[in-house]
């Protein structure tokens, strides 16, 4: 069993998920509540990894993070090694690749909160940041969990970006999906079988956890309580 690849895959998925939570929560908050005209543009860019071939993303990252650009050189100087073909590089690629899977459920969850409840908080004197932290986030915990689990599973299943950006360095960039590709190329079907089964197992377990949450207790999502109470009619 390729323990190194398993550990690396799980480590990558965990780090990516944590990074995505930090990045996606403010981004999703902005997308859900801002009145900015830039919203469609930002929303489109954030959703782009959904439709783009992963190789395109990997290619641009490879170029951007490589020694041919000023940005890549500066980054390499700072880290002491180039970001491409390193674990950190994979994290950057995975974060971008899984961004929509983190952002979309959050936006949906935030928007599902009864707007009158947020108005009530404003009337009590709460600032937008307080409302977001104390009311929006706790009421969207089901969506936040969904985001985290989807980001995790999606990163586990990532192939194209890793291949383009990380190559195949054992313990550094050789994830399970890359290992499987390798094993198949080598006609090592016994190993390939184990790897494939493992990937199915991890993904299925995560998704089952996700659906258990959905259909389970969190289905009674408190944020929906009172969603029928509209704004009290626009006119008196």
């Amino acid at each position: 069993m390729d323990t190194q690849a398993i550990l690396l895959t799980l480590r990558l998925a965990t780090v990516t998920t944590l990074a995505l939570m930090v990045i996606a929560i403010p981004l999703a908050g902005w997308l859900a509540f801002s009145a900015s005209r830039m919203k469609p543009v930002v929303a489109a860019i954030a959703a782009l990894p959904l439709v783009l071939p992963p190789t395109v993303l990997g290619y641009y990252l490879l170029v951007a993070l490589g020694p041919t650009t000023l940005f890549g050189r500066g980054l390499a100087e700072m880290l002491g090694h180039p970001l491409a073909f390193s674990f950190e590089g994979l994290v950057v690629g995975s974060v971008l690749y899984s961004l929509p899977f983190a952002v979309q459920p959050m936006v949906a969850g935030f928007r599902n909160i009864n707007p009158a409840l947020l108005e009530t908080a404003q009337l009590l004197g709460a600032k937008p940041s307080t409302i977001f932290r104390d009311i929006v986030l706790p009421l969207s915990r089901a969506s936040l969990l969904t985001s985290a689990l989807l980001s995790f599973t999606h990163t586990v299943g990532e192939f194209g970006v890793v291949l383009m950006l990380g190559g195949n360095i054992p313990g550094v960039t050789r994830t399970l999906s890359i290992a499987l590709y390798d094993q198949t190329q080598d006609f090592n079907y016994a190993a390939a079988n184990r790897t494939a089964l493992l990937l199915v197992g991890i993904s299925l377990a995560t998704l089952m956890a996700l659906y258990t949450l959905w259909f389970g207790s969190l289905n009674k999502n408190t944020s929906r309580a009172g969603s029928k109470l509209q704004r009290g009619g626009v006119r008196g």
């Binding site: 009590l124 104390d134 009311i135 008196g236």
Partner: protein, 251 residues
């Protein structure tokens, strides 16, 4: 008697499909009833006063403070206005207990007014007094899903007055409650607000209610304030007009 000076002045113009608001108001009494049929624009007016909606044109001045001025494209955020609003549906934060709902309101205002937090002990004491006054002490640890509609409305009212406001707007928060409870809550609310000197603008459909609390009456029809003055005079005029209309219909 000299006309008391107004503490709130507003000119609001707003046009929506099928509805036009064109209202000029000046409030000078500690209790003002806003009376009128549904669809007259009462709720829209209240929402503009507390900043939840922005008029297309107009200005709002509370005390010496400008809250809205469309000419300067100025709109003070709702959270900084210090105006409370209680709606017909009691909207409690579902993830918190009754006590937490009240504490949240207390904490927000102690921050916005720039005062130091009075400390957990004081806060606790205030909370207990408030819960006792609105008789919700026994449900302090319950979540909103576990309490009845009447209890929810008590909590919503208590939360709205958990911290002093410059003006309290009531959009028929007691409609649908039984008469005894209504009367009891109204008495509690009135004595508390009178002590604090918080003025009230309250929406009502109910003529009887207008006479229950002395104050001024403002009648609204089709987005306009048509009458303002003491209850007896304003409602007598209304009655006269209604009778005239009925007589006209008969003829």
């Amino acid at each position: 008697m000299a006309e008391p000076t107004a503490f709130l002045r507003a000119v609001l113009r707003h046009r929506m499909p099928g509805f036009e608001l064109d209202a000029q108001i000046a409030l000078s009494h500690s209790w003002t009833w806003l009376f009128g049929p549904s669809g007259a624009g009462k709720t829209t007016l209240l929402r503009m006063l507390c900043g939840l909606e922005r008029p297309q044109a107009g200005s709002i001045i509370l005390g010496r403070e400008q809250l809205t001025d469309t000419l300067r494209n100025f709109q003070k955020p709702t959270c900084e206005r210090g105006i409370g609003l209680v709606m017909q549906e009691p909207l409690l934060f579902p993830h918190w207990t009754v006590a937490q709902n009240l504490l949240f309101a207390m904490e927000q205002t102690s921050r916005t007014s720039g005062k130091e937090m009075t400390g957990a002990f004081d806060e606790r004491g205030k909370l207990d007094v408030l819960m006792e006054r609105f008789r919700i002490g026994h449900i302090a640890k319950k979540k909103p899903v576990e309490i009845s509609g009447g209890e929810k409305q008590r909590v919503a009212l208590a939360r709205a007055v958990a911290a002093p406001a410059k003006l309290l707007l009531l959009d028929e928060p007691l409609t649908g409650l039984d008469a005894t409870l209504r009367e009891e809550l109204m008495t509690t609310l009135r004595s508390l607000l009178a002590r604090r000197g918080t003025p009230v603008l309250a929406v009502t459909h109910d003529v009887g209610e207008v006479f229950s609390i002395p104050g001024e009456v403002m009648t609204m029809e089709e987005g306009r304030i048509v009458e303002q003055g003491p209850a007896k005079i304003v409602l007598a005029k209304q009655r006269e007009q209604l009778l005239q209309k009925l007589r006209g219909d008969e003829a």
